[in-house]
């Protein structure tokens, strides 16, 4: 440090002042020391640099400086010299002064200040202290300073520069000055900044001899200030340039700073947004102007909640404003205890979210209405997403089931699983797959038909990106299709029967007319012939043949439903019992006939024709058993109506333990002239007749058979409905 500490004094002047000190008395010396100390203290106090922390050091420095100044001043004032006899005291005093000077140097070194003196022409005569910066703009060091005025050093002209004009006026008027700030050119186009304080100095006679004072380097302060100003300007610029609303509340929660965007967001409370206003009061102003729709009618509660959030800074939250805009409110605590807040206008985002939600809802609804679900597989993430409707189609809950291949394939009907599995796996492997139709079994056991289509989309490099599949529940269509196929089959069947019936009806009429004379006249002729006539046998054969022909025509009429039915209220149990008692006599002993005949409601029917049905079925059953031992079980029961009691039906079944019917024949057994019996053992009309009669009673007949184990024919007939059948009589009965 000491290399920076210089004393500058012109050699001639120094010698002159040294000489003078010898001629002064001790009292004068002491007075001067005190005066000098006071001056220095004053100067130091005036200095902008002196603060409380360095106060003590400054006092010490002042004392040291005072001693040093005394040494110089007494030398200047005492030109004549003092008596030789006091040389000893002088020598002692000099030593003291030298010590004092040494102390001062140390302190001045530490204080890093400049102390200067100027002559009556305001030219520097002395500069001492930290001289680091005391170089001119060419880098030339300190000697250049001495003998020049301050404005010369600053490169300024007091004639033209108002600052310097004022300063020079002060000096010319010998007025003390404080903290005069100026700058001096330095190398590289920079400046030295000084803060200078000074006081005029007068000699014992009161003549102005110059100025004395301190100077402090202000470069660091100026630079710090400039940096602070730049930082603040930068902050303000940054805040202003943020497109989102930005606000800072101080540690007392008062508005410190906000940008235009913030003000624009809250136009209703903008008048309250004056720096210094508390956050809560700004909120109240907004509430008063109905700024927050969510607060309507519950302002106090809303305010408490908002303040709680503001205090706790718990989470970001969304805020709806009265003009319909949505704002995301985000607040953070700052290190100084204040709050920095950001308000982001998310109206567009909310709109997009809303329209996204809306289109999602529309998609869901469309899927629901069309009963079509969808799944999307992302090949890069492996993630699979199933739509709500797909879960519904599969009968699964979103919570209970992972949307993966395993879950899916376990739902597929075992018979379809291999076909579906291989196709879906191919699709998952990035290969196009054809559309599929298959069954699934829901967890509740319901079987649904599903139509699946899949579409792969590819990335630019040809890699599969997404697999989008749609699943349409086509169960209803499938059922309808099956039903339609059945109906078509029934229609074809009934059309065939109808055609046969029409044909049969026409033939029957003519045949019956033809048979009238054959049968009647043969009978008459037989009666008229003598008992031993050889023609009798011939006539008998004619009669038998005619009767067969007559029966055949009747059967044809029966299956073709061209037969006339004589319907009346009958007890089917009685009718059945009668038919069975008639049949029992004709059955072989190896065949056991079992009856389970329940008491049933009456039906409206032709007893004779229904007996014919029973006869045909039981006869058929007996033929199926053949020579073996077997059982024929005839069961009659009532079936409760699905809708009400009036809807009741009767079920009559004939089951046997015979040979059964081959699967390929089951569908054809009711066709006329279809028979599996050997030629001459059956006409092939028995079951066709039964079918025709049952149909003529608005009933149905079906068969179930297990080849080798037997067959069961089941007839379902509607029970008689009193009110309706009173009218029905006219329509269907004789």
């Amino acid at each position: 440090m000491s290399r920076y500490l210089h004393e500058e004094r012109e050699p001639g002047q120094r010698r002159r002042r040294r000489g003078r000190v010898l001629g002064r008395g001790a009292a004068v010396i002491a007075a001067i020391i005190l005066t000098a100390a006071a001056n220095i203290l004053w100067l130091l106090r005036e200095s902008a640099i002196l603060d409380s922390a360095t106060g003590a050091a400054a006092v010490i420095a002042a004392l040291g400086l005072a001693g040093w100044l005394f040494f110089r001043k007494s030398a200047a004032d005492d030109a004549a010299g003092l008596a030789q006899h006091r040389a000893e005291q002088e020598a002692e005093t000099r030593r003291d002064l030298q010590q004092s000077e040494a102390r001062f140097r140390d302190i001045a070194d530490v204080a890093a200040e400049l102390i200067w003196e100027m002559d009556a022409q305001h030219r520097f005569t002395s500069v001492v202290g930290d001289l680091r910066n005391i170089v001119d703009k060419n880098g030339t060091p300190i000697p250049a300073t001495l003998g020049k005025t301050r404005w010369e050093l600053a490169g300024a002209d007091p004639e033209t520069d108002p600052l310097w004009r004022r300063h020079k006026a002060d000096l010319d008027a010998h007025r003390p000055f404080r903290r005069f700030r100026y700058r001096r050119p330095a190398p590289n186009g920079t400046y030295f900044y000084f803060s200078v304080s000074g006081k005029p100095v007068f000699d014992a006679e009161g003549r102005f001899v110059g100025y004395r004072g301190t100077a402090s380097h202000e470069n660091e302060i100026v630079e710090a200030q400039a940096r602070a100003e730049r930082a603040e300007a930068l902050l303000r610029d940054a805040v202003a340039s943020v497109s989102e609303g930005f606000v800072i509340y101080d540690e007392e929660d008062r508005l410190f700073l906000c940008n235009e965007a913030y003000l624009r967001l809250y136009p209703e409370s903008v008048t309250a947004m004056v720096p210094g206003t508390r956050f809560e009061d700004i909120l109240r102003a907004g509430l008063g102007a109905a700024q927050y729709p969510a607060a309507k009618g519950r302002e106090a509660e809303w305010l408490a909640e908002r303040m709680r959030r503001h205090r706790e800074l718990s989470e970001e939250h969304e805020q709806l404003l009265s003009d319909g805009r949505w704002v995301l409110v985000s607040e953070r605590r700052m290190a100084n205890g204040g709050t920095a807040g950001l308000r982001i206008d998310i109206t567009a985002l909310k709109d997009v979210q809303a329209s996204l939600r809306e289109s999602q809802a529309q998609l869901n609804e469309a899927q629901r209405v069309s009963n079509t679900g969808s799944s999307v597989r992302d090949f890069q993430t492996g993630k699979i997403v199933w739509s709500d409707q797909l879960y519904r189609i599969f009968g699964l809950s979103r919570q209970g089931s992972a949307p993966d291949f395993q879950t899916f394939i376990s739902l597929v009907h075992p018979e379809d699983r291999e076909r579906v599995g291989s196709t879906v796996k191919a699709a998952l492997a990035g290969k196009d797959s054809p559309s599929l139709q298959y069954r699934i079994i829901r967890p509740d056991g319901a079987i649904r038909w599903v139509y699946r289509e899949a579409k792969l989309s590819y990335a630019a490099d040809g890699q599969p990106l997404l697999l989008t599949s749609t699943y349409k529940d086509i169960t209803e269509q499938q059922i309808a299709k099956q039903r339609q196929a059945e109906l078509e089959s029934q229609l074809r069947h009934s059309q065939r029967l109808e055609a046969l019936g029409t044909l049969a009806g026409g033939i029957a009429h003519d045949l019956n007319n033809t048979l009238v004379p054959i049968l009647a006249l043969s009978t008459l002729a037989l009666r008229l012939l003598p008992a031993d006539s050889p023609v009798r046998d011939d006539l008998a054969i004619i009669i038998t043949a005619s009767e067969r022909a007559r029966d055949l025509v009747r059967q044809i009429l029966a299956f073709s439903r061209k037969q006339e039915l004589d319907k009346q209220q009958i007890d089917l149990r009685a009718v059945t019992r009668e038919a069975l008692s008639m049949l029992r006599a004709g059955l072989p002993t190896t065949v056991r006939l079992v009856e389970h005949l329940a008491d049933v409601p009456p039906i409206f029917g032709d007893a004779g024709q229904l007996q014919q049905v029973i006869v045909n079925l039981v006869t058929n059953a007996a033929h199926a058993i053949g020579d073996r031992t077997g059982t024929i079980t005839v069961t009659l029961a009532a079936i409760a109506g699905a809708a009400d009691a009036a809807d009741a039906k009767l079920c009559l079944s004939v089951a046997d333990t015979g040979c059964g019917i081959d699967a390929q024949h089951v569908d054809r057994v009711f066709e006329p002239f279809f028979t599996t019996k050997p030629v001459n053992e059956g006409t092939g009309l028995g079951l066709a007749v039964a079918h025709g009669i049952v149909a003529g009673h608005d009933g149905s007949i079906g068969v179930r058979s297990e080849p080798g184990k037997g067959a069961e024919f089941t007839i379902v007939l509607p029970a008689m409905r009193r009110m309706k059948d009173a009218a029905g009589c006219d329509r269907t009965a004789a």
């Binding site: 009806g505 029957a508 009429h509 003519d510 045949l511 019956n512 007319n513 033809t514 048979l515 009238v516 004379p517 054959i518 049968l519 009647a520 006249l521 009978t523 008459l524 005619s546 007559r550 009429l557 439903r561 061209k562 037969q563 006339e564 039915l565 004589d566 009965a733 004789a734």
Partner: protein, 123 residues
């Protein structure tokens, strides 16, 4: 002797029925269709009219209606070998129109005689 009018378009049937009833002791007159039958009814005043249902010119159902319009107390027996046509059940219709008896073709001679006797008895 009771007189029976037989209306049937089939010659063989007509003559067979006449033969049976002749043998059974009835007087018989015949007609080959409804129009002729109505004329015969007026001229012969039969005790019983037997009519076929399906006939050319004037078929049986219409004939029965016209007979009963003229003679509400006429005894009629409808005979048919035709079964049903569509929903039409001829013999049921005949009975409903007022025919006393119906008979399916073909029939035994005794059947015819029994029914004729029954008709005439049911006065």
């Amino acid at each position: 002797m009771k007189k029976v009018l037989i209306i049937d378009d089939n010659d063989a049937v007509r003559s067979t029925m006449a033969r049976i009833l002749d043998l059974a002791g009835y007087a018989t007159v015949t007609a080959r269709d409804g129009n002729e039958g109505l004329a015969r009814m007026r001229s012969e005043q039969p005790d019983l009219i037997i009519t076929d249902i399906i006939m050319p010119e004037k078929e049986g159902i219409e004939t029965i209606r016209l007979i009963l319009a003229e003679r509400p107390d006429a005894k009629i027996m409808a005979v048919s070998g035709g079964g049903r046509h569509g929903t039409m059940d001829f013999l049921s219709a005949a009975r409903k129109l007022g025919a006393t008896e119906v008979l399916h073709k073909p029939f035994e001679p005794d059947d015819l005689v029994d029914r004729v006797a029954r008709c005439l008895k049911a006065a």
